[in-house]
Every structure is written in structure tokens, then in C-alpha cells.
């Protein structure tokens, strides 16, 4: 098992390095002189020369990359062009909000997706299965930012039940925090719930065809126990690993959800950075998202090895 985990760790290193290449290459897309683009409104030749020196733009591109990579390895993600704050610090201050949103969304996705998937598999071919499949497909097709707008319209504007926007830290006021986060988390969670439902249904259908399930039924075990204890336990293995890989979808969805509900998280940071042309912040966010995804993929691989008894030896 340790060898399998070590092999996956080794494979993650070149992927991570190439993620840094991709993120660094983004700045090569800037039209014209990158120093001028980074300077924004500033047209003072001295200031532009300072930017050129700060970002080593007078050096060959491979050297620029190595200098940038060296900074990354020391934990330096660069400096925000607008606030002058270290990018790492900015991201670290916004990340907990997005993590909270993502965790709540994932909890909602699991609570809806897994039971719906089990039900659809057990009632395969019936109206319940068809309905669950259609709802899942609709969940994947409806843009979550529109769902957010519609919920604000209904729940906040018409019924006045929950706040339409804003954020309160859970350490300040846990109840207010839940009130502000539940609707965005639901919006973000529904798309993932649809994917989870499809994974669970597919995994359950495979497991329900296995000999041990037939044996359990033949031995006279109650159906609820066959499904809950024997089938679901094994079907959840691929669901757990595939669910981990939904991290990217969660982050992409969070960008839009945070924008709709004005939540000051990671996603809002990148959108604001785009409009203020704060390129180091944009690069930092993409890098962190890529790094997070590689780590989650690694976690998925390790979980698969740990949870699967056949791979443990």
C-alpha cells in the first residue's frame, strides 16, 4: 500500500511543476509590453522601469520562470498591484470563507445526491429512477448563478426569509453566518448533488449485480440491510474518490456563487482582481486552485488505496 501511495506522490511532482508552468505562461498572454500592462494607468518611465526590474522582465523568459518558481518555493506568490499586500496573505485571508462555503455545499450535495442515487438504482427503470435522472440532468444543466438569482428573488425578495447577500463570520455570530451561507451553499451544492447522484446510481447498479448481494438476499437478509450494509458500503468507494475530484467544480462554482451573493471569498477575490488588472493575484488564485486540485486528486488516490482492501497488501 505504501509503495502505491509513494508512486502517486512521485507522479504528482511533475504535474505540480507543469501547473506552475501553465500559471507562469499566463503573463505571456498580456498584449504588448508586459511592463506597461502591469503598470496600468502609470506612464512614468521610471515607474515602468521599476516594474520591469521587479518582475525581471528584461531577462529571458526561462530565467524569469526560474526566478518566479524560486519565489514560490519560498512561499512568495508575489505582491498585489493594487493593494501592495503579499498575494499569499490576500488568498489566505479569503480562503476560509470559500472553504466554509465549499464544505457546506458538499454536505448538502452528499445529503441529496447519495440517497437519491441509491433510490434511483434500487427502483431502476421505474418512474422514480426516471425522475431522479431527469432532475440530476437538470441540476447539471441549470447554471448555478441563475439558480442563485431565482432563490434570492423567491426566498429573500418575496418571502423575506433569508438575507440576499453579505457575510458574517461564524466566530462573530454563528446563526447569522448560517443564515447568510445556507442559500449560497444550497446553490453550489445542487450541481454537485446531481453528479453525486449519477455516480452513486451507477456504482450501486454495479454492486447490486454482484454475487455477494445475491447471496445476502438468498440468505434471507432484509432488503434494507442488503442495500444499506452490504451494497451501499461498497458502492460508496468510487463515490468517495469521484466526489473528491469534484473539488474543481466546487471552486469554479464558488466563483459565481460568491459573486451572486456578494460573499468575500476566494472567487470574489479573483473576479475583483480581473477587473482591477491585478495579474499577480489572478495568477496566485489559479496556482492555489491547481495546487488544491492536485492535492485532492492525491487524496482521492490515497483514499482509494486505503478504502479498497484488495489494494492494501
Amino acid at each position: 500500500m505504501l509503495a502505491a501511495i509513494a508512486a502517486r506522490l512521485v507522479l504528482a511532482v511533475p504535474t505540480l511543476l507543469l501547473v506552475t508552468v501553465v500559471v507562469f505562461s499566463l503573463q505571456l498572454l498580456l498584449p504588448g509590453d508586459p511592463a506597461l500592462a502591469l503598470a496600468g494607468e502609470e506612464r512614468d518611465p521610471e515607474a515602468i522601469a521599476a516594474i520591469r526590474a521587479q518582475y525581471h522582465l528584461d531577462r529571458p523568459i526561462p530565467v524569469q520562470y526560474l526566478i518566479w518558481l524560486g519565489g514560490l518555493l519560498r512561499g512568495d506568490l508575489g505582491t498585489s498591484l493594487k493593494t501592495g499586500l503579499p498575494v499569499g496573505e490576500l488568498i489566505a485571508s479569503k480562503l476560509p470563507v470559500t472553504i466554509e462555503l465549499a464544505l457546506l455545499a458538499m454536505a448538502i450535495a452528499l445529503a441529496i445526491g447519495i440517497p437519491a442515487g441509491v433510490l434511483a438504482a434500487v427502483k431502476k427503470g421505474g418512474p422514480l429512477d426516471a425522475a431522479a435522472n431527469f432532475v440530476a440532468l437538470a441540476g447539471i444543466s441549470i447554471p448555478n448563478f441563475w439558480l442563485g438569482i431565482m432563490l434570492i428573488l423567491l426566498v429573500s425578495v418575496h418571502w423575506g426569509l433569508l438575507p440576499a447577500s453579505g457575510y458574517t463570520s461564524p466566530f462573530e455570530d454563528p446563526l447569522r453566518n448560517l443564515q447568510t451561507m445556507i442559500m449560497p451553499a444550497f446553490v453550489l451544492g445542487t450541481g454537485i448533488a446531481a453528479v453525486m447522484m449519477r455516480h452513486t446510481r451507477s456504482a450501486m447498479l454495479t454492486v447490486l449485480r454482484q454475487d455477494y448481494v445475491r447471496t445476502a438476499r438468498a440468505a434471507g437478509l432484509p432488503e434494507r440491510r442488503v442495500i444499506g450494509r452490504h451494497a451501499l458500503k461498497n458502492a460508496l468507494l468510487p463515490v468517495v474518490t469521484l466526489g473528491t475530484l469534484e473539488f474543481g467544480t466546487l471552486l469554479s462554482g464558488a466563483v459565481l456563487t460568491e459573486q451572486v451573493f456578494t460573499i468575500p471569498g476566494f472567487g470574489k477575490l479573483v473576479v475583483d482582481a480581473v477587473f482591477t488588472r491585478d495579474y499577480p493575484v489572478v495568477q496566485g488564485v489559479v496556482l492555489c486552485a491547481g495546487l488544491g486540485f492536485v492535492l485532492m486528486s492525491l487524496l482521492a488516490d490515497i483514499l482509494y488505496v486505503v478504502l479498497n482492501p484488495r489494494l492494501r497488501t
Binding site: V21, P143, S252, G290, F293
Partner: protein, 289 residues
Amino acid sequence: MASLITAAEPEPSATPRLLRRLARNRLALLGGLVVLAFVTVAVLAPVLAPYDPVKSNWLAVRKPPSADFWLGTDDLGRDILSRLIWGARASLLAGVVSVAIAVLAGVPLGVLAACAGGWVDGLASRLTDALLACPFLILAIALAAFLGPSLTNAMIAIGVSATPIFIRLARGQTMAVLAEDHVLGARAVGCPQRRIVLVYVLPNIAAPILVQATLAIAAAIIAEASLSFLGLGQQPPAPSWGSMLNTAKNFMSQAPWMAVSPGLAIGLVVLAFNLLGDGLRDALDPREG
């Protein structure tokens, strides 16, 4: 030798069988019809739209749906139905063009990686992993940010972000085809690599690529709407479903109708592409009979 060459000829096309299976799938057919309807609306936009989609009308600001304006008007008095009809052009164009970029870039790279093997394959695979590691929309936002906000750049950004999926798919499918007996036979009789790719590989990987492309168009339409919603896609006053929603969110209590139809249109067309893609996938699955 002659018999060997005959044996190495590719199998006849399975297209009629595929179409028959697809025709039996009602949901896929429905999806195809809805897609066709949206394409027709997009093509006939100048004829179908009752009003100019960009012209402001200060006498009709934020009017609710009525006989004159079926879906109401927006904050500048523009007819929402007309903007919705013209917006179909931007959405469908973005979906098709960005997926075409991804297919044209990804498929040759994937085929090349599988045929070359060795370090070329290793590098292509790791690069694909790295691109896939960056969440689709975040990478598209970053690309659009560095390229500048416009519909063209949004299409390029979405296309580049979708490319690794096609590299991976084309690579895997090509490897499977290269291991088949008739291709090994062709190689054994000295068939050149280029001919193997053109005659054996590309026709055999076309079907799964088509399925993936159909599903990718659905994802690309949502991505374009998302970028336009964030202000990084189609720029005002040109109509796009995403930018219509962006405006609508500022007038939710005064003009809720502004938000309803663009979202429904996105959901419907994406659902249709997903149904069509799922139907195509099932029709190509040998286990489906």
C-alpha cells in the same frame, strides 16, 4: 499478401446503426429537436426578433411582459425577447467555436502522443494533468483576464480550457485502436504511420470525440454565460444571456422578469445538448444492444 491487405481494410461505417439507435431514444431525439430549434432561432434572429436588440427606448424602461413586449423590457427599455433571440447567436457560437478550438487542438495532440509514445507521450500526459488540475472556469477567467474581455477571447479561453479533455480522450482511444488486430496487420505489411492515422485511427475515434464534443458544447455554453455574467464575455450593448443575467441581478425587486427568461434559455439549451450527448453515448455503447 493480398489477403493480408484485404484483412487489414477498415470495418464498414457504423453510422446507420448509430442513427437507428439514436432514433429509438426519445429523450435524445427531443434534445436534438430543441438544439435544432435554438440553431434556427439563432440563424433567423434578424427576421424573428421583433425589435432592435441594442436600441434603448426610454419610454419603455423595465416594462413587465405585455402584448407589445412578450417578455418585458430591461433597464434601458430594450425588448428582452429580441435580446434573447440575438443572445442565442452568442451562446451557440461560443459553444461551437470553443469546442472546435478544443477538438482541433486536442485531437491531433492526443493522437500524436499515442503514436509517438515515449517522452512525447509522457510530456503530453503530464501537461494534460496540469491543465486539468486548474479548474475549468477559473482557468477560463484567468485566460480571459490576460487576453482581455471580449466574446472572441472568451471563446479562446473556453477552448483552451476544454482542450486537455480532448487530448486525453484522443490519446486513450488512439492507443486502443493501435492495439487492434487489423491495425497491427496493416503495420505488419508496412502501412505508413500517416496512413494508419488517417485510415484507421481517425475514423474509429470520431464517434467518441463527437459524443464528448456534444457534451462539451453544453459545458462551453454554461462557461460563456458564466464569463459574460462576470463581464468577461460578450461586451455591452451586444446581447448575451449571461450579460442579461448580470444586469438583471441589479433589478431583482423592481423587474424580476429580466432574470427569468435568459436563465431558462441557458438551462434549456444546455439540457438539450446534454440529452443529445447522453443519447449519442448510449447509442455508441455496445452493451446497450
